[in-house]
């Protein structure tokens, strides 16, 4: 049963190969199979069904994890058919290839004809065409053919589209069309899909993905790629000046940020603060904020004052690393207590002065003036621990990504054209009738959304038929 709806008013033409002579049965059969829409439908459905598997079975997990869940025989079977990395398995890729092949062959089969129909449109409204049209209207007017042809030509151009004029014996034909691109929407969509595939392949072949952890204040330029199997040295280094987290008043994180510099030949060539959703790009390599953590031991912040209150700045004490103070001695942080004798966070420092025995002193974070009680030449106060952070960067190079975006653009544009642009055609034939009258036949058709076109057609004809210059009286048949 053929239901021709008003949305898609023209059935898809039967593939050319079907009409071809069946010289080589097998080759023809194979070709017919490859270009068939039936294959397309089944491939789409099978791709959809098999894709489900990979969402039910967690992909790319460590072997042990699967062994815990599945019996041995099931594990072996699933491993054999690559179900643990199914989207990269040979059979899934084969399915994708079949899909791409189907699409390509179908295009090879149909596109040339679509181009031919568009480049060589039916310019003449003959009887056969007239009968095939859903919309026609006839009327007669007094006057001469050339005069009316001129008038209608101008009117069509004004109300619809500029027509092409063809003269045959005794008749003049006007042909005007709009929305020809509608014929190519589906092809653009399909081309978009193929281009996305190409982009994905380019990215997989020429790109890489990696991960870098860079502690605050240090730089990195060495990458592990392909799951650590290969190594790569970047032609520049990335320095993490600082990583930090900002929070909402509720304490939830609102922002992860890293202040990064690109160092090339010992010089900083670029500096940018990246956040999630706002990466850094340099020479085609992208750095994404993707993780963070504490990098090794925390440092204690200690401020120095003279007894009279003048500040002498801050010390950063790494665990057990002595720091010298000129004219005083050395000091090192030795112990940290979150709640020292019920007085909150505190730091124990060891003070060593030349020629004196070392002394251990506790300084409390909550009591900055307490250390005055020692009556030393310097007063220490503890500002708290800061831990050194590292930033985790996802590193990616994907030379195919712009190709993918191009494909996406074409895909979407093609779809919009396919669904929302209609190829509307209007013909007008003028021929010499009896008694000095001109016989006029107008016809129209559209490849989609017929109700809308019916309105357009009626409106155009009304406009056109108003056209007659005052000296020629109309006479509808």
């Amino acid at each position: 049963m053929e239901t021709v709806t008003d949305v898609r008013t023209e059935p898809v033409p039967v593939p050319a190969a079907v009409e071809r002579k069946r010289g080589k049965p097998f080759a023809t059969e194979a070709w017919n199979f490859l270009i068939s829409l039936k294959l397309a439908i089944w491939t789409l459905i099978i791709l959809a069904l098999t894709s489900i598997l990979g969402t039910v079975i967690e992909q790319n997990q460590p072997q042990d994890k699967y062994r815990q869940v599945y019996e041995d025989w099931a594990y072996n079977l699933m491993d054999r058919i690559n179900l643990f990395d199914m989207y990269h398995s040979w059979w899934f890729l084969l399915l994708l290839c079949l899909f791409a092949l189907n699409l390509t062959c179908c295009t090879i089969d149909r596109l040339p004809r679509a181009i031919r129909t568009v480049r060589k449109p039916k310019l003449i409204l003959d009887d056969v065409t007239e009968k095939s049209l859903g919309l026609t209207e006839r009327w007669k007017s007094k006057g001469a053919v050339p005069q009316w042809a001129e008038a209608y030509k101008a009117a069509l151009a004004r109300t619809f589209a500029s027509p092409r004029v063809t003269e045959t014996d005794g008749a003049v034909h006007l042909y005007a069309e709009k929305g020809v691109v509608s014929r190519f929407g589906a092809y653009a969509t399909h081309a978009g899909i193929v281009i996305i595939f190409i982009g994905a392949i380019l990215g997989n072949v020429f790109g890489f993905k990696s991960y870098l952890s860079i502690p605050d204040g240090t730089e990195a330029s060495h990458l592990d790629v392909r799951g650590g199997k290969e190594h790569l040295d970047l032609p520049f280094a990335v320095r993490n000046n600082r990583f930090w987290v900002e929070t909402y008043p509720s304490g939830q994180p609102s922002k992860y940020a890293s202040d990064l510099s690109v160092i090339e030949n010992g010089r900083e060539v670029l500096r940018k603060t990246i956040t999630v959703n706002d990466p850094l790009a340099y020479k085609g390599i992208w750095f994404y904020q993707s993780g963070y953590g504490e990098a090794g031991g925390a440092t204690a912040q200690v401020s120095l004052k003279r007894p009279d209150g003048t500040s002498l700045g801050n010390l950063s004490l790494a665990p057990n690393e002595p720091v010298g103070i000129e004219g005083y001695g050395t000091v090192r942080g030795v112990k940290y207590d979150e709640n020292y004798q019920g007085n909150g966070p505190a730091l124990q420092v060891k003070i060593e002065k030349p020629g004196q025995p070392a002394s251990d002193v506790w300084i409390l974070q909550g009591r900055p003036e307490q250390d005055r009680l020692r009556n030393d030449t310097l007063v220490f106060s503890f500002g708290g621990l800061t831990s050194k952070m590292y930033t985790g960067l996802q590193v990616a190079k994907d030379p195919g990504v712009n190709v993918v975006w191009l494909g996406c653009l074409l895909l979407t544009a093609g779809m919009m054209i396919s669904f929302f642009v209609s190829h509307c055609r209007i013909w007008i034939r003028l021929s010499e009738g009896l008694k000095g009258k001109v016989e006029i036949t107008a016809g129209g058709t559209a490849n989609r959304n017929r109700p809308a076109f019916e309105k357009t057609f009626a409106a155009v004809l009304t406009e056109i038929r108003k056209e007659p210059s005052d000296n020629a009286k109309e006479n509808p048949a």
Binding site: A48, T55, N277, T412
Partner: protein, 280 residues
Amino acid sequence: MNTLNVQLFDLTTFLFGTATGSYIAALYGKKEFLARIGTWICAAAAIVSTAAIGIRWIESYRMGIGRIPVTNLYESLVFFAWSINLFYLFVERKYGSRSFGAFVVPIAFFTMVFAFTIESGIQPLVPALQSYWLHAHVITCFAGYAAFAVSAGVAVMYLLKERRGGDKVTGGVLALFPDTKVLDDLVYRAIAWGFPLLTAGIITGAAWANFAWGTYWSWDPKETWSLIVWLVYAAFLHARITRGWHGRRAAVLSIAGFAATIFCYLGVNLVLSGLHSYGG
């Protein structure tokens, strides 16, 4: 105590429930005026829910975390129901038949009932969700889903009517349905809206992933399910243009597509695990 926007959404839920009741009663009692009441209630629900979305938006600014309300499960559900309702009202007007109501408005109603049962507060956005791509992604996806909901509702009508002999039925509820040809056409048209929207949704989602993580596609369950939905509707479109595959098979594909849509939307979060943060 809920804030104003949530109270308005609760009112919307109630309105959808009443509208569903009137549409169904109208079909069974063959009382056109009941269906007309349904339409008025849906129009009221459209106004109330639009206001609620606006107020929620403003409230989020008052809380210092201003953003379009499309960023958590609750907000996406109400946006989905809002789109279904608008889409439905448009279709009802355009096709001049209120019989669709009994099949489409319940979907909006159940969506809101589900929303009613979950956390409805305005939460600040975690860093990964702070992206304009995300907003575009959610809006296009859910507008697309709404179109699929309409299509599936109509596909059910098509199948019911076709099973009883199609347009030859006289009398009974089915006689109130539009012709099978009109239904079949509407199943397609709704998808012709939904499919480009879903496509745009998948693409904006890929763009978001690319800016946030450096991969536009990673086969995580949510992504894969959106692809599955997309493939089913692509199959539908091609089924429609092939001899012997439209009508009933196309209607079945539309329903299958909507089932996959619902699973993609909720099932993935409730049943499977993945990167996506909705539903938590």
